[in-house]
């Protein structure tokens, strides 16, 4: 069924594509939102993801690999949105008026605050965020992530480990 949908959409069947979108739009949005942390950006990334899917679907050789392919496109779309957002912010930021950063991002009792986590998390690369979201938010196992990304399980583990290390390092930096 799914394979048939992908193949029909790949052949240009807009109705089949609609069905594919409806079945996956929530997952894509959740991943995008987890990575970007902003609903507007997540919607943009979701839209860009599926537009890219429609455009490039003929290039997908194996319909069974659609979901992994979709995940990679989602991550790419999130990256593009993030770049655009960064660029815009950099253009308009005026250091003189930039609101002062909190010198104490952590709560007094040492508990990790939301803003501290977000600030640290936003300093990760998109790929690092995406793999953390896939494993820790989407609840995918290492095996599932490996299959989705078409990479060895060992690579998934190492990337997860690296992402956690970077995140911890950023949190520590904020704590100083």
């Amino acid at each position: 069924m799914e394979r048939s949908l992908v193949e029909r959409a790949r052949a240009g069947d807009a109705d089949a594509f609609d069905q594919l979108v409806r079945g996956r739009i929530d997952t894509v949005y959740r991943v995008a939102l987890g990575v970007l942390g902003n609903a507007t950006d997540a919607r943009d990334a979701t839209q860009e993801t599926f537009i890219a899917v429609w455009r490039h679907l003929p290039g997908l050789r194996d319909a069974d690999r659609f979901d992994g392919w979709l995940h990679r496109i989602t991550v790419n779309a999130a990256r593009m949105v993030l770049r655009h957002r960064r660029g815009v912010r950099e253009l308009h930021l005026d250091p003189a008026t930039d609101p002062p950063r909190s010198s104490r991002p952590l709560a007094p009792e040492g508990q990790l605050t939301a803003s501290a986590f977000d600030r640290a998390f936003d300093r990760l690369s998109v790929e690092q965020r995406a793999i953390l979201v896939a494993h820790h938010l989407e609840g995918r196992s290492v095996t599932q992530v490996a299959r989705a990304l078409a990479i060895p399980e060992g690579t998934v583990k190492s990337r997860l480990h690296a992402a956690r290390q970077v995140l911890q390092r950023e949190l520590d930096a904020l704590d100083r």
Binding site: V21, I25, Q47, I51, W54, R83, V88, A114, F117, D172
Partner: protein, 827 residues
């Protein structure tokens, strides 16, 4: 800091997903945007896109150098590709777009092929309250099953832009017209102060163009939508904003002094059939674009030191392009779901004498009508005679509207009230009945609790399908009269339930106030529906009125007598005889009977004879010439049926012989006219094919359904015969009454009736004569796509009429014009 645990990580990630999820309107919009993009952008038309460059935050000068450098090497990097094909939008040839009606907008919302389309329509919106926990929802007044989202600050009868979605529309904003015209020119917009258009959308006819590469700086900018990126403009004329240099690279020129600057990448999103070559050059695309003024510039002023981007837009000419309005190739009104409403909407009031006479007709058994009596009006039911139902209060124009009834504050008991409206039934899931019904098992008066019947001025659908099996429904119909449960089933003409709930049925219904029951859904008073008013069928044609007799003669060849011949007719039958009626020459060959025969005939068996007599050539002035010997004669027998419209007798005199032909009094043309007239009276369109079998026999016109009663064995399939018998005035009326009464005038344009298109040798008439009329959903044939009425004359022989006009009449849709593309004769 303490190492981050898995729980903390997952908790914080989950928090990032908290808040409004992707549901409701945002989800709907996103799906529509994606679907719309996919449908508007067939993949095979997309040429490879040059790698997108984003130089945000880079200095303008450096960026300009980079642009030049990239342009110079672009041809070497990009695969050679043909330039886009010529624009499909020829200059000056833009199809006209128009303001749709609310009903047309609703029709689009029910058509899944229209999802993503942007249209402009003049509509009224209503907000339906909803009990049972569901929130109020805004819908189209013209069709309450169509939900309206988006910006809901609509004024009454406002012209606004909408994006069509599945079973719903999104309001994009009010549209300002250019006088009476929907579309503006670019010049027309630029000729006014942009601030005049604040908060309104404008539909502008222009060319959408876009730069092939990203630009930053060097231009007035409004916000990020207009800053770095591929800049887009709407121009009044076709402008090729970029072209390849012969030696490589690009030449770029401005869109001209008169253009509307629209947000970056607008071409990608809104141009019809966007075409882009391998280095990003786009083909200008003409269209009717919806724009909203975005504001004035606040960016850097242009300087001569940097590479100059195409045209510096006027500082306040920044516009947000929100959609493209395409003309509708097919009138959406014919896509409306059918809503047959056989009940005439004019209230007929009878005299006592008429009612007494008509009530004897079994065809009227059980029907209720209004009768004028001294001092007022009565409702009477036909039960072999008239039985009084009660006194009736009319208003000017006869029937009340629902709004009039609800607004009435006169205080007097109005008795029975005829109300013209739409009868609907709610079907929302209900909570358990109140406690009092548990305490008193004998109390079964739940007639006004929860699901029930309602009489409304508006055609209301009470259910909205959700997903495969689910639905939401309303329990109350705002502004309607709440009538007892089951009234829809009992009184609606052809009650039908579908996925949108009970199909609203329009009619004139007789109601009376029922005060306020112990348990009621909605407000009080409630109403009891007593009957649906229908005109009584006319009494069958009286036999004494007779069947019209028409005799015509033709003189083909002289009889041989020098003095000429006398031509006489004798008619016998029904116990009477008329002898020696002379036929006279009307002109050289045409003959008629001036006197001596009756104009009408009573039912019975008859015989007609024509005689040819020798006449002497001796002329005696002032004396009649006596008849000479009989030279020839011809005779034919025929039967006149009760109520038959007429009988036509034609005689041809050929030397000393003659021929008689007897035909029914209804001409072929009249039959076709009757068929066409009947077709015109049908609610349109039909979801399924409807077959009507019509035959012509010797004396009349038979019309029956495609079913076991059909004469033609091929037609004995299913259903039941509608009518059989000679075609008389009474039977024509019976057919109309049984099928659908004609409530709209059929406009027949004789110029549209073309020459016969039968192909001899191909068409085989049905063995029993007759033809098959086929009505059904839209399809394609040699005349194009659309709705057709196919008239099958025989095997392999079809004529079809194309529906060319559908008109809304009191909320119903009727075929008001057909093109007959063939004219057939049944042998």
């Amino acid at each position: 800091m303490t190492p981050l645990t898995d729980d903390e990580l997952e908790r914080h990630l989950a928090r990032r997903l908290a808040g409004p999820g992707l549901e409701g309107e945002p989800r709907h919009e996103l799906l529509a945007a994606i679907s719309g993009h996919a449908r508007a952008t067939p993949r095979h038309r997309l040429a490879p896109v040059w790698p997108q460059l984003r130089w945000l935050g880079v200095g303008a000068t450096a960026m300009a150098l980079a642009v030049v450098a990239m342009l110079a090497i672009a041809p070497a990097l990009a695969p050679p590709g043909p330039l886009a094909s010529p624009s499909p939008s020829a200059p000056g040839n833009l199809p006209v777009v128009r303001v749709l009606t609310g009903a047309e907008l609703a029709a689009l919302a029910h058509d899944t092929d229209q999802v993503g389309r942007v249209v402009v329509a003049k509509v009224d919106l209503i907000t339906l309250s909803c009990s049972g926990g569901c929130p109020p929802r805004t819908t189209l007044m013209a069709d309450s099953s169509v939900a309206v989202g988006g910006l809901l600050d609509a004024a009454p009868s406002e012209v606004a832009a909408f994006r069509v979605e599945r079973q719903s529309v999104v309001r994009l904003g009010s549209v300002e017209l250019d006088g009476d015209a929907l579309t503006w020119s670019v010049y027309g917009i630029l000729g006014r102060a942009a601030t005049e258009f604040a908060d309104h959308l404008l539909a502008v006819d222009g060319w959408l163009v876009q730069t092939p590469v990203h630009f930053c700086g060097g231009e007035f900018n409004l916000d990020e939508r207009f800053s770095c990126g591929r800049k887009a403009y709407i121009t009044p004329d076709e402008v090729q904003i970029a072209s390849r240099r012969p030696g490589g690279g690009l030449s770029i020129r401005g869109p001209g002094d008169h253009s509307l600057r629209v947000q970056n990448n607008a071409y990608d999103d809104f141009a019809p059939s966007p075409e882009m070559d391998s280095i990003g050059i786009t083909e200008p695309r003409r269209g009717t674009y919806l724009v909203r003024w975005a504001g004035c510039a606040n960016g850097p002023q242009p300087t001569q030191q940097v590479w100059q981007p195409p045209t510096v837009a006027p500082s306040c000419s920044f516009w947000e392009l929100v959609g493209r309005v395409d003309p509708l190739s097919v009138s959406p009104s014919i896509s409306l779901s059918p809503s047959p409403s056989p009940t005439p909407l004019e209230l007929t009031v009878y005299t006592e004498a008429e009612a007494t006479e008509l009530a004897t007709d079994p065809a009227n058994e059980g029907r209720v009508v209004i009768v004028a009596v001294d001092g007022g009006f009565l409702a009477v039911r036909s039960e072999g005679g008239t039985v009084q139902v009660g006194s009736v209060t009319l208003v000017a124009g006869g029937a009340w509207s629902v709004a009039d009834v609800r607004a009435y504050r006169g205080g007097q008991d109005l008795g029975l009230i005829p109300v013209r409206g739409w009868l609907v039934e709610t079907s929302a899931e209900c909570p358990a009945p109140p406690q009092i019904f548990d305490d008193d098992p004998t109390n079964d008066d739940l007639s006004y609790y929860c699901g029930g019947s309602w009489l409304s001025d508006e055609r209301i659908y009470t259910r909205t399908p959700i997903g495969a099996d689910g639905y939401t429904g309303i329990m109350e119909v705002p502004g309607a009269l709440h009538v007892q449960a089951g009234a829809y089933h009992d009184f609606a003409p052809d009650p039908t339930w579908g996925e949108r709930g009970a199909e609203p049925r329009q009619g004139i219904y007789l109601v009376k106030q029922a005060d306020c029951p112990a348990v009621v859904t909605g407000d009080c008073p409630v109403w009891e529906m007593v009957a649906r008013l229908e005109p009584w069928a006319p009494v069958r044609a009286s036999p004494t009125s007779g069947t019209r007799l028409v005799i015509s003669g033709e003189h083909v060849e002289r009889c041989g007598s020098v003095g000429g011949c006398a031509y006489l007719a004798d008619l016998t039958g029904a116990g009477e005889q008329w002898l020696g009626a002379p036929l006279e020459f009307v002109n050289g060959t045409t003959m008629s009977i001036a006197s001596g025969l009756p104009e009408t005939l009573a039912p019975g068996d008859y015989s007609i004879s024509f005689r040819i007599h020798f006449l002497s050539d001796a002329i005696v002035v002032g004396q009649p010439r006596p008849l000479g010997p009989l030279m020839g004669s011809c005779t034919s027998d025929f039967t006149v049926s009760e109520g038959q419209v007429g009988v036509s007798i034609a005689v041809r005199f050929i030397a000393k012989t003659c021929e008689v032909t007897i035909a029914g009094g209804v001409s072929q043309e009249a039959i076709l006219g009757a068929v066409a007239e009947w077709l015109a009276g049908q609610e349109w369109p039909f979801d399924d094919f409807v077959y009507v079998h019509a035959t012509v026999d010797e004396v009349g016109f038979l019309l029956n359904t495609y079913g076991p009663g059909a004469r033609d064995p091929d037609l004995r399939d299913a259903g039941s015969p509608l009518f059989e018998g000679p075609m008389t005035d009474a039977t024509i009326e019976a057919v109309r009454s049984a099928l659908q009464p004609i409530t709209a005038e059929f406009i027949s344009d004789p110029t549209d009736i073309r020459e016969p298109s039968t192909q001899p040798g191909v068409c085989e008439p049905f063995a029993g004569g007759g033809y098959l009329i086929q009505l059904g959903p839209p399809r394609s044939n040699a005349a194009g796509d659309g709705y057709f009425v196919t008239i099958r004359v025989g095997n392999g022989c079809y004529f079809w009429t194309k529906v060319v006009e559908v008109t809304e009449v009191d909320g119903q849709y009727r075929v008001t014009r057909l093109v007959l593309d063939g004219f057939f004769i049944v042998d």
